[in-house]
């Protein structure tokens, strides 16, 4: 396969390929973080995760139209405002859904699966009714398009860099929120022992709502960022949901670090195999590997070591 190429060419391609793997890693982390928070911390299987992402994408779409029409001077920075709004919109909807639907089902975790799946169908049809069945095109500011050419072959996509930076910021933010802040402490307390947490004065209902909203909000940001690399349509959320669950389950549901580790493992495996094999085959092999490892470690890569 490589006989016809010079070493420089091969070196460049492997550098590019490594970078492609890192971009995929960032995309996976961004997709999965919101779900991992909700699934891991609350035990709720949020099948509507993809639709919360697409809510963020549609918010970005509306923002881009708004800025083009009314504030063309600020168009180059609209993306940041769109992401903030996407977080707020998806988070607010998440809080509402938690209040209206999820909190009634905490004692029946499997029913949340059905309820959130229904919610995802409702949201899809709502998008279809509001925005139309066709995909919408989100106009991006020029500085987010194109690539930086390092050499003749090595070209780094700017939107890939952007996603990587964004993922880093969000991951660090989530780390501080969950492990260094009062809210995180309360959340972890509720996860570990709900009754006890309530007894020491933590408003567990409020913590649940905030956690759910946070997960949905991060999904919104992810959706907003993915307008750079993917499609925005009523059912586009479905494109991400399988990978997202795969990552969270593989990483170990209760561990955010596990989510990151599993994103890394799956993204590297997939992008390497895609390079050497064909796309569909790479997917099959990735899934087989994941199934194999999950058979050996049903809890996923990282699990809490607690005696049950």
């Amino acid at each position: 396969m490589f006989a016809d190429y010079t070493w420089t060419e091969l070196g460049s391609i492997f550098a590019m390929q490594g970078f492609a793997g890192l971009i995929l890693f960032s995309v996976f982390v961004l997709m999965a973080l919101g779900l991992a928070i909700i699934f891991g911390q609350m035990g709720v299987i949020n099948m509507a995760h993809g639709e919360f992402m697409i809510l963020g994408a549609y918010v970005t779409y509306l923002c881009s139209n708004f800025f083009q029409a009314f504030l063309p001077g600020l168009f180059s920075i609209y993306f940041f405002i769109a992401m903030a709004l996407a977080f707020v919109a998806a988070g607010a909807l998440g809080a509402f859904v938690e209040w209206a639907l999820i909190r009634h089902l905490y004692k029946r975790p499997l029913d949340t699966l059905l309820a959130t799946w229904g919610l995802s169908l409702i949201m899809q049809q709502a998008y279809r009714s509001i925005f139309g069945a066709r995909e919408v095109g989100v106009t991006l500011p020029d500085w987010l398009l194109g690539s930086i050419a390092l050499t003749d072959i090595i070209e780094i996509p700017i939107n890939g860099l952007f996603v990587m930076a964004l993922t880093l910021v969000i991951a660090v933010g989530v780390y501080f929120l969950m492990f260094k802040s009062r809210m995180g402490m309360q959340t972890r307390a509720v996860v570990q022992n709900r009754v006890m947490a309530g007894a020491v004065g933590i408003n567990t209902e409020w913590v649940d709502r905030k956690t759910y909203a946070l997960g949905c909000g991060i999904a919104g940001i992810a959706g907003s960022a993915f307008t750079m690399i993917g499609s925005t349509g009523p059912t586009a959320g479905q494109l991400y949901i399988v990978d997202t669950f795969l990552i969270v389950v593989f990483g170990g549901a209760a561990s955010l670090l596990g989510t990151i580790a599993s994103s890394f493992a799956i993204s590297q495996a997939q992008s390497t195999m895609e390079f050497f094999l064909s796309g569909s085959m790479a997917k099959v092999l990735t899934l087989l590997t994941v199934v194999g490892i999950l058979m050996l470690r049903p809890e996923g890569l990282f699990s809490h070591k607690i005696r049950r």
Partner: protein, 420 residues
């Protein structure tokens, strides 16, 4: 109760017969003084279809919900427009067309169920519908069992020819061969990288493409398929960069399309440059709306229709379409093909002088449409259309600019040699 109905039956039919005869007399009298002849319902419909003295019922069967709604909406709009226009011109054999619309909901068994409902319960005289090959394959046995007539609008992989289907889109060889000939001749292309979503249409199409490329003495340097809905193309883009093909031949569909073109552009593959040339058969103006014109500028598409075609038929069609469905609408290849369906059916019914499926089928080959927005089309013996293939260049505004069209109509060849 039983008794009563037995008594009622013959009386009713006798009354019907008398009434019918009277009408027939009246009508034949009219026709003698130059009134458009509207034959008696029984004469033009011997198989119990939903045809009355002044109406005929047809079915529209597309997904308006689910994943495929994005693609099929345009076809529904085109079919309704054609039906309305035909009605405004006086209908078919003097009968106004009424349509029953069913939703296939992007679910293939639902398509089959709804097709059965249209044929058995509604007794429609023709169905305009389906989009994906999977939905067509699902309804095919239903149409063949209950002897219905389906007008199928999408360009597709071929390898099929049913007496109960008229294929108004191009089959694979029509779309592919002319496009590859063009890119080899005009762009001096020597090497091709074939890429597609992983299902029957892209795979069959690429098989035909590969065969033709090799016949021309050119080289295929890569062939790859990605699962439907795949959103990460960076690895394959790297491979393309390594192999440096003259042509990227892309048959990616659906949401993947958007991801593919955005990432291609982000990776610095500039399609407006001399090389590589990107040639696609899967991106119509409809898809460009989701992709964004700026992300696909410079790509070439080989198909039979572009909204920008400059001819009086198309001008009138685009104007009528926009008046009916809104100014910001775009019209892609399949939408135009869907528009042909009702017109081809009308022509066949009028040639046959009957709504009977068997007679319409016999009358269909040889039907010509000089008013088609794409220009002139003719129905082949094999139920596909003779049509021209065109190559368009994608522009930032989301439209294609016509750069080439075949001099002659391309003959449809759904069973190319070596594929059976």
């Amino acid at each position: 109760m039983n008794n009563k109905s037995e008594l009622k039956g013959p009386t009713a039919s006798r009354r019907g017969l008398i009434l019918g005869t009277a009408t027939a007399f009246a009508l034949s009298a009219f026709s003698q003084i130059g009134f458009p002849s509207a034959a008696h319902a029984d004469d033009v419909n011997t198989t119990g279809l939903a045809v009355t003295e002044d109406t005929v019922k047809v079915g529209i069967l597309h997904s308006v919900t689910g994943t495929m709604a994005i693609s099929e909406t345009g076809s529904v709009q085109a079919e309704k427009l054609a039906i309305e226009q035909i009605n405004a011109m006086g209908g078919v054999l003097g009968r106004q067309i009424e349509y029953t619309q069913e939703d296939g909901a992007s679910d293939w068994p639902t398509f089959a169920e709804k097709a059965k409902k249209l044929l058995v319960n509604d007794k429609v005289a023709a169905v305009f519908g389906c989009w994906t090959s999977a939905s067509r394959k699902a309804v095919l046995p239903v149409f063949e069992q209950y002897n219905g007539m389906l007008y199928y609008p999408t360009f597709y992989e071929g390898l099929e020819q049913s007496p109960n289907v008229i294929y108004t889109g191009q089959e694979a060889t029509q779309q592919i061969i002319a496009g590859i000939d063009w890119v080899a001749k005009e762009k001096g292309a020597k090497s091709f990288y074939l890429l597609g979503s992983d299902y029957i249409w892209p795979r069959t199409s690429n098989k035909i493409a590969r065969k033709h490329i090799e016949k021309l003495g050119l080289k295929v340097v890569g062939e790859e398929y990605y699962p439907l809905g795949h959103t990460q193309f960076n690895s394959v883009i790297n491979k393309i960069k390594l192999k440096k093909p003259d042509v990227i031949y892309a048959i990616v569909v659906g949401g993947s399309n958007v991801a593919f073109y955005k990432q291609l552009k982000a990776a610095g593959i500039d399609m407006t440059k001399e090389k590589p040339v990107l040639l696609t058969i899967s991106v119509t103006e409809d898809e460009i709306r989701g992709i964004g014109g700026e992300n696909i500028t410079g790509a070439y598409a080989a198909m039979k229709y572009f909204q920008s075609l400059d001819n009086p038929n198309n001008e009138a069609f685009v104007k009528a379409f926009k008046e009916r469905w809104g100014d910001d609408i775009v019209i892609g290849d399949v939408t135009q093909a869907a528009y042909l369906g009702p017109w081809l059916w009308k022509a066949a019914v009028e040639k046959a002088g009957s709504f009977d499926i068997d007679k319409v089928r016999l009358a269909s080959p040889g039907i010509e449409l000089t008013t088609a927005p794409e220009g002139y089309v003719r129905v082949h013996e094999n139920h596909h259309l003779w049509s021209k293939t065109r190559v368009g260049l994608a522009k930032p505004d989301g439209q294609y600019e016509l750069v080439y069209e075949t001099a002659d109509l391309m003959e449809p060849d759904p069973f190319p040699e070596g594929y059976q």
